[in-house]
Symmetry: C2
Subunit: 373 residues, 2 copies
């Protein structure tokens, strides 16, 4: 009974937010296609079926007429009488899933069931890939769509504090709608941060996290190719690594300890220990009570240290090389993620240029720029 009460309270909320209150979770047993839809039981490692799921991002025109099985989130759902359209989302990729009631492959019950799936539910969808007559607007896989032949909810989403579609909207879209007199819902920063797991589902955030991972790999791969090795230095240390004030202090089994403000000492000791070239990707802790957009008390440091044979330009070459490798790597191997971020937050990639100025050239540039003294 408690469950029912809570369900009806959820349904009320859902109704208030414009969603359908009634939820159909099982097919009508008289439906000849009853085996093709309905909520699945809890995934409980009962058997290995051998079924193979296709990735949404891999779908393109070459899949035409092929049968696929997909697992993804219901990004949006639209039911219209005898048809339903679901946008299925997998990380940064979206696909239109179509259901048109007919007598052979899609029943009216199936359309009704699909129409009532709550957004953000996880579903398994089976069907045939077809090529739409014109590109599907607003889907990343715009040159294909799926004719649904079976759909099961794997995990049904309850009412959410905000819609991922609303959180994924660009400023430009909101403004364009406003100019047409429409008001599009936006999601404030506080709401996003209080529900970070949901905010991270937006394609732009998915892409940002993928790019963050990529930057680390590009940094490491380049340095490894240049004879560096990775080290991990202690974060719990006996004294301040740098200035004395901005350090987090703690009790280490009765002894005072600090959190490392940088791996500096350990990197340098590694060089003295003949490691020659080392790098670390690890957290850095700084107890700076500066509440600006440019300060973080904890951040990931991408750090390297190397022995110099005769000139500091050897270090400059590595710095230039690592930045060039990162920028080129992002532009060539991760253009898709960059484009996804750009859809919500338009930007242009800076062009990487190696630049070395002598002191005299720097002075000259300053003077020419209007700073004669």
């Amino acid at each position: 009974m408690a469950d029912q009460a809570s369900m009806s309270s959820l349904s009320l909320e859902a109704a208030q937010r414009g969603q359908k209150a009634a939820v159909m979770t099982a097919p009508d047993p008289d439906d000849p296609l009853a085996a093709k839809y309905g909520d699945a039981g809890l995934v409980a490692s009962q058997a290995v079926s051998g079924r193979v799921w296709t990735r949404v991002e891999d779908l393109n025109a070459s899949f035409s007429d092929k049968e696929v099985l997909l697992r993804g989130r219901v990004h949006t759902v639209r039911g219209k009488g005898k048809s339903a359209f679901i946008v299925l989302r997998q990380r940064t990729a979206t696909l239109q899933v179509c259901l048109f009631a007919n007598d052979t492959t899609v029943s009216k019950g199936m359309v009704k069931y699909a129409s009532q799936i709550t957004r953000e539910s996880i579903v398994d969808v089976e069907g045939v890939i077809t090529l739409p007559s014109k590109p599907v607007e607003g889907c990343s896989q715009s040159d294909v769509e799926l004719q649904c032949r079976g759909i099961r909810v794997i995990s049904r989403a309850a009412v959410l504090p905000f819609e991922v579609t609303d959180a994924a909207r660009s400023e430009a879209d909101v403004q364009a709608a406003a100019e047409k007199g429409e008001v599009l819902v936006t999601v404030g920063q506080d709401t996003r941060l209080n529900n970070r797991f949901l905010d991270l589902r937006t394609p732009a955030n998915q892409a940002i996290f993928k790019l963050q991972s990529a930057v680390c790999q590009l940094f490491k791969d380049y340095l490894l190719s240049q004879g560096f090795q990775e080290i991990h230095s202690p974060k719990l240390i006996a004294g301040a690594s740098e200035g004395g004030a901005s350090v987090f202090k703690l009790d280490y089994m009765g002894t005072p300890a600090c959190l490392a403000q940088s791996p500096q000492l350990y990197k340098q000791m590694a060089i003295t220990a003949d490691c020659e070239r080392v790098f670390e990707v690890g957290p850095v802790f700084r107890a700076e009570n500066s509440n600006t957009h440019r300060h973080l008390c904890e951040f990931m440091g991408l750090d390297f240290e190397m022995a110099i044979n005769e000139h500091y330009c050897e270090v400059m070459e590595v710095v230039e090389g690592v930045f060039e490798h990162i920028f080129t790597g992002l532009a060539t191997r991760h253009s898709r993620e960059l484009a996804v971020v750009g859809q919500q937050f338009p930007f242009s990639m800076p062009e990487f240029k190696r630049l070395r100025l002598t002191f005299a050239e720097g002075i000259k540039m300053l003077q020419e720029g209007g700073y004669p003294d």
Copy 2:
């Protein structure tokens, strides 16, 4: 004056430890080969000479009769009248450098200068690679040696708390010597840990750190190939991640905070946020006051989390795959480092086998092993 005083006190210590007290840092100006040896000035980024240093580990018979320039540590040095032998060390690689006084390429002064270089000094050595009539014992590059034609100390080592050669000795070597009635110096654990930068210069420790870096890369590379992405979760958090007792607590700008005992919550949130497959390599903090060989209050966690489609065996496959990749990668790509560790600490690599037992099979094995209940 203070410098001289401290130098003579160092020399005295050196003499007590059996090293030569006198130190020759500059050649006799009347030596016709005076330009070929003597201490170099401080490396101060004055000019880019364009000189190319060869790596000791790269040297082999194909370098015969070639001129090379090497920078490394003086591992051992032995002067005998008109000849001197230096073992030059670069991380895990060592090479014999020979000086025989003659009238054209090596002067008596040069031999004397070389004989007096303190162990662990950094030197630049130039010369011609030759093939010894029999393999050089105790050097990693045993099929080549260098006929020195020029030698300069780049950084002269002071008297050290222990010799790297003594720290690099295996138990077997010490025992074998003892059986012959010789006593070889060994270095205690405390002395090593109090001078960690020096202890890490032993070939075995160099190899261990290289292998540690390799394990991280193999872990990451495999998971990246399986669609995982790297995340970095916060280490400063508001509450305990796991059990309440064994957590380090600290003051975060007037608010109580904890150090993360695991990235568990954040990994799981990443999955809920549709990241699908994530991993983290990062520090883990546990305030367990257990002073055993099996406990560390801070360690690097190699951790991954993934969404399961239908069965936990999907996770087992990844676990098996990652271990197989690491073991195979070490055995194939890092056999040299494994061999170097084995010279000081003999071991055999475990063979990796994929093994899955059902509960029934496990019970059967226990019963057959003498545990019937």
